[in-house]
């Protein structure tokens, strides 16, 4: 290759790597610094509703006003700690429920005849393409007091008074499992379909029973998929706003909803930023787990 050709290839390489890197660096990574900065600022009634961290910069002297009050409030007011625990509980339990429904589904699809797999997976992904908001909204009509389920049960004479389902934790769990099921099935299917079936045949030849084959071989080998699916559900659900807001009750405490209220209703941008910073720190370990799986997955390919 001639020198100008090599030069061109190098410029091309720089552009190909540089453009997406700069975009994401500017619009994704850099903004977290602003969140951190604002979480250390003071809230005021003004436009914008906070005082800048940097008060003065004169003659090489930088005067900062660092306010730890937001974090202090998060520690002192038990509301926020309760919201954190409640988010962890809701995200954890709904991840488990999604796994319990998603695993057998992914397993059945992975073991279906080859020409069935793609259409069956398309049917799993299809709801993900329709509006998330509208799918959550659909459950309001089903769960409310004069909704489909209550009308059905009352029409059949099973119950006399409507069951209280909407605006309860039950509705929140239903909404989360429903909305996030495709995220669980996708990675599970990907690991289960690659599973080496000769291992199971060998075990069967040696007299291993089907359920033991599952526990000893299939389940351990599918753990990377379980982990990835669990993190793909757990991480976004920790900050979920729409589902607890539309399906949950006023007592459904979740960090995402609390952040929304602090920001939009109370106009307390610094406190909302402090909450975001805390949520981000909580999510670092789950995110690293997800990355670990993805790296292994790419090496396997």
């Amino acid at each position: 290759m001639s020198i100008p050709g090599a030069q061109r290839a190098l410029t091309g390489r720089r552009l190909i790597i540089g453009l997406p890197w700069l975009w994401l660096g500017l619009f994704f990574a850099l903004p977290f610094l602003f969140v951190l900065k604002l979480s250390l600022s003071e809230s005021v009634l003004a436009q914008p509703p906070y005082l800048d961290l940097i008060r003065e910069f004169k003659d090489g002297v930088l005067i900062l006003a660092v306010n730890l009050g937001n974090y202090q409030l998060l520690l002192e007011d038990s509301l926020y700690f309760k919201a954190l625990l409640s988010s962890l509980q809701i995200a954890g339990l709904s991840t488990l429920l999604t796994l319990l429904l998603g695993y057998p589904m992914a397993y059945a699809i992975a073991r279906a005849p080859q020409h069935w797999r793609l259409p069956l997976m398309m049917l799993i992904i299809l709801p993900f393409w329709t509006s998330f908001l509208i799918r959550v909204y659909a459950w309001i009509g089903i769960l409310k007091n004069n909704g489909l389920i209550n009308q059905l049960l009352m029409g059949l004479g099973i119950i006399d008074t409507p069951l209280e389902m909407l605006h309860t934790p039950f509705a929140v769990y239903i909404g989360i499992v429903y909305s996030y099921l495709p995220f669980m099935v996708l990675p599970l299917y990907a690991t289960l379909v690659r599973l080496d079936l000769t291992l199971l045949e060998a075990a069967a030849d040696l007299g291993c029973r089907p359920w033991k084959q599952f526990l000893r071989i299939t389940l351990p080998l599918s753990m990377p998929g379980v982990l990835a699916g669990a993190m793909l559900v757990f991480i976004p659900v920790m900050g979920e706003f729409v589902i607890p807001d539309l399906l949950g009750g006023p007592d459904t405490l979740m960090l995402g909803k609390l952040m929304w209220i602090e920001f939009f209703s109370n106009k307390d941008w610094p406190l909302a930023s402090a909450l975001a910073a805390v949520l981000l720190v909580v999510l670092i370990i789950p995110f690293m787990l997800l990355r670990h799986y993805e790296q292994r997955n790419q090496e396997a390919q």
């Binding site: 997406p20 975009w23 914008p48 793609l118």
Partner: protein, 272 residues
């Protein structure tokens, strides 16, 4: 397989019923005469005609479509560049950070992304005066940031699995790398680009939380209108809107599915 495992089959059927039941109920009640969404009052299409005369919803839908189309096109360009970088250049400075930055936007809660972008836009406006005010531009910039991550995943898997012998042949015959990319690589990964464009379009049409944070007074997107109407209770017009969205999406996905299916069959038979 299914004959041997009735329990597995039952769970699978239950799962599909769970996924599609609510959507079907929504569609059925969009043809309900009665305003009470769950009491059947006879067949009617009046909510559709009311929807088509609802200026607020139509205006918001138009804004959302504009944002979604610009977002999808920009995301495909940036996402494809990121995918090419990650698949073709094995080692480079910033690889790990690029990997993290294309994974994180897909999983991080929307409230965090929305708030952090808003703070960036506010600071940018005070420092360099751009983007002036918040609205269509800021929503589009925010949507490109998370959509391009999804496009990267879709294009990346196609690039990683493609047969490179054609590219190598063209390079051996003296074609310039850029020419090879446009004449050979691009047509091969085209289905992934189409899928990525459609995915980015849908994600943008669907986003409520991030748009709410970075939007200004003048710009109301379709999900924002739907959300404020849903908060007031169930509304048959929203059912009609939902039905239209589901039908459009189902047709688009069905076409994409048939294309992918044929292509997969084609490549399988070629291998045999």
């Amino acid at each position: 397989m299914f004959r041997r495992a009735p329990l597995l089959m039952t769970v699978l059927l239950f799962g599909y019923a769970f996924l599609y039941g609510p959507i079907l109920s929504l569609m059925v009640y969009s043809f309900n005469e009665s305003r009470l969404v769950t009491v059947w009052g006879g067949f009617s299409t009046k909510w559709y005609s009311e929807l088509l005369h609802n200026e607020q919803i139509l205006g918001a839908a138009w804004l959302s479509i504009k944002i979604a189309a610009i977002n999808a096109s920009a995301s495909v360009v940036l996402g494809t560049l990121a995918a090419v970088a990650l698949v073709r250049y094995r080692r480079f400075r910033g690889r790990t950070s690029l990997e993290i930055m294309v994974t994180a936007p897909m999983v991080l809660p929307d409230v965090i992304i929305g708030l952090s972008l808003l703070l960036l836009f506010v600071s940018m406006q005070t420092l360099i005066g751009w983007p002036a005010g918040r609205g269509q531009t800021t929503i589009t910039l925010a949507h490109i940031t998370f959509s391009m991550a999804y496009v990267t995943v879709v294009v990346r898997s196609r690039l990683a699995h493609m047969d490179r012998s054609l590219e190598e042949a063209a390079l051996d015959l003296g074609a310039r790398p850029l020419k090879v990319f446009f004449a050979i690589t691009l047509p091969i990964i085209a289905p992934a680009l189409v899928a990525g464009w459609l995915l980015a379009f849908t994600l943008s049409m669907d986003d409520l939380v991030i748009a709410s944070f970075v939007s200004g007074p003048g710009a109301t997107t379709l999900p924002m209108v739907v959300y404020s109407s849903v908060r007031l209770g169930v509304s048959p017009q929203i059912n009609a809107l939902a039905t239209l969205i589901v039908v459009i999406v189902a047709i688009a996905v069905a076409i994409a599915g048939v294309l992918l299916y044929r292509q997969e069959k084609g490549s399988n038979s070629r291998k045999e």
